[in-house]
């Protein structure tokens, strides 16, 4: 696959997945653009991956965390440093993405790769450089946390 073809076919999916993680349209676009620029730099390697868009999404999420850490070091956390609220997109009102944003990076990565990009456990483990068992453990913790923070999930058991 050529890079331009890959960019054309995967850019919107990557943007949407990253947007669910950061809940800020402009930031998501910036992070995904950075992810694709790095994919272009490493295209020789990335082009052979089973799901190259997962690589882009992972880079985007990592860049976001790196930037946040840098900002935290540079300026004492004030109200202007808090993450931008999600309100920029009316469609971003769902509770699960809102709760997902509050999970640690590794859990978000696992949830994003396994549940949003539908990667299997082995592929996810390979991409993150961790053991398959660790992927399962992070997924279990994330789902448990999401479940406890969203009453709606438990309500469904009563309804069904």
């Amino acid at each position: 696959m050529e890079f331009s073809e890959f960019y054309e076919s995967a850019r919107d999916e990557c943007l949407r997945v990253v947007l669910l993680n950061v809940r800020d349209r402009l930031l998501a676009e910036e992070l995904v653009a950075e992810g694709f620029a790095r994919a272009w730099m490493s295209w020789r390697k990335v082009r052979h991956l089973q799901v190259p868009q997962a690589w882009v999404v992972r880079v985007a999420l990592n860049v976001n965390v790196s930037r946040w850490r840098r900002r935290r070091r540079e300026v004492a956390l004030g109200s202007h440093d808090r993450p931008t609220p999600a309100g920029q997109d009316a469609v971003m009102s769902d509770e699960v993405p809102a709760a997902l944003v509050r999970r640690p990076l590794r859990q978000r990565e696992v949830v994003t790769l396994r549940l949003l990009l539908d990667l299997d456990t082995e592929t996810t483990a390979g991409l993150l450089g961790i053991a398959p068992g660790t992927v399962s453990a992070h997924l279990h913790k994330a789902v448990a946390a999401l479940r406890s923070t969203i009453p709606r999930l438990d309500d469904q058991e009563v309804r069904t």
Binding site: S4, R16, M41, A144
Partner: protein, 217 residues
């Protein structure tokens, strides 16, 4: 609620949230992505060179040596449907283009860049500077086209990035139609060039043009 049920519910909820974002689309053009990638790669190279230079200087001081330290160049071959790029250990590279396959400019530019060849690859247009930097014949040499195993002769050029004058890059303009193609090469001044959708004349001065099996300079 069982783990499986919770997992399924979270998955459905996320999928539903993602599907509600169909109106959200990337606005960043491909050109901008490639430009940022190139800039980042140059920064990495400079850092690597600075780091290598510092280590080499320390090593030279330690053993009391003076002289030139050469940079290692990794030899290898990139083979795609549209082109084959062979990197040689002396720093030169040989590029063979398949006229039957549409060339992706971003991929070729990326691969050339990884081989230390600053290039601007365009499809359907050609970029040049006025005045044109001298020295193209030292940088690019064309070879007689060979048929290889395919039905059409494949033009080949050899590129020597060490011969490129400072502040220049190699402009590739590829024009393809119905199984035939014309690829033109020239040196341009970085940041000072214009592009046109008209293919240059086969005998234009300062431009090397490969048209299927013919090479004209």
């Amino acid at each position: 609620m069982s783990d499986d049920t919770a997992l399924g519910t979270v998955r459905e909820s996320l999928a539903s949230a993602r599907d509600s974002l169909t109106a959200v689309q990337m606005r960043t053009p491909l050109d901008s992505i490639v430009r940022n990638g190139r800039a980042a790669r140059r920064r990495h190279r400079l850092l690597a060179l600075a780091s290598t230079g510092a280590v080499a200087a320390v090593a030279a001081l330690a053993v009391g040596l003076t002289g030139v330290t050469g940079s290692a160049h990794r030899a290898g071959t990139i083979r795609t449907a549209a082109f084959i790029l062979v990197s040689h250990s002396d720093g030169t590279a040989t590029l063979t283009i398949n006229p039957l396959v549409l060339l992706d400019p971003g991929t070729l530019q990326s691969d050339l860049d990884q081989d230390g060849i600053p290039a601007m690859v365009t499809a359907g247009s050609f970029c040049s500077s006025d005045p044109q930097p001298a020295g193209l014949s030292d940088v690019v040499s064309s070879e007689p086209a060979t048929s290889g195993s395919g039905p059409v002769a494949e033009p080949t050029i050899t590129i020597d990035p060490a011969a490129m004058p400072a502040g220049t890059e190699l402009s590739f303009g590829n024009f393809q139609a119905a199984g035939s193609q014309q690829t033109s090469f020239t040196l341009v001044s970085t940041g000072s060039y214009t592009c046109t959708s008209t293919p240059p004349a086969l005998d234009a001065s300062g431009i090397i043009t490969l048209a299927n099996s013919r090479a004209v300079q």
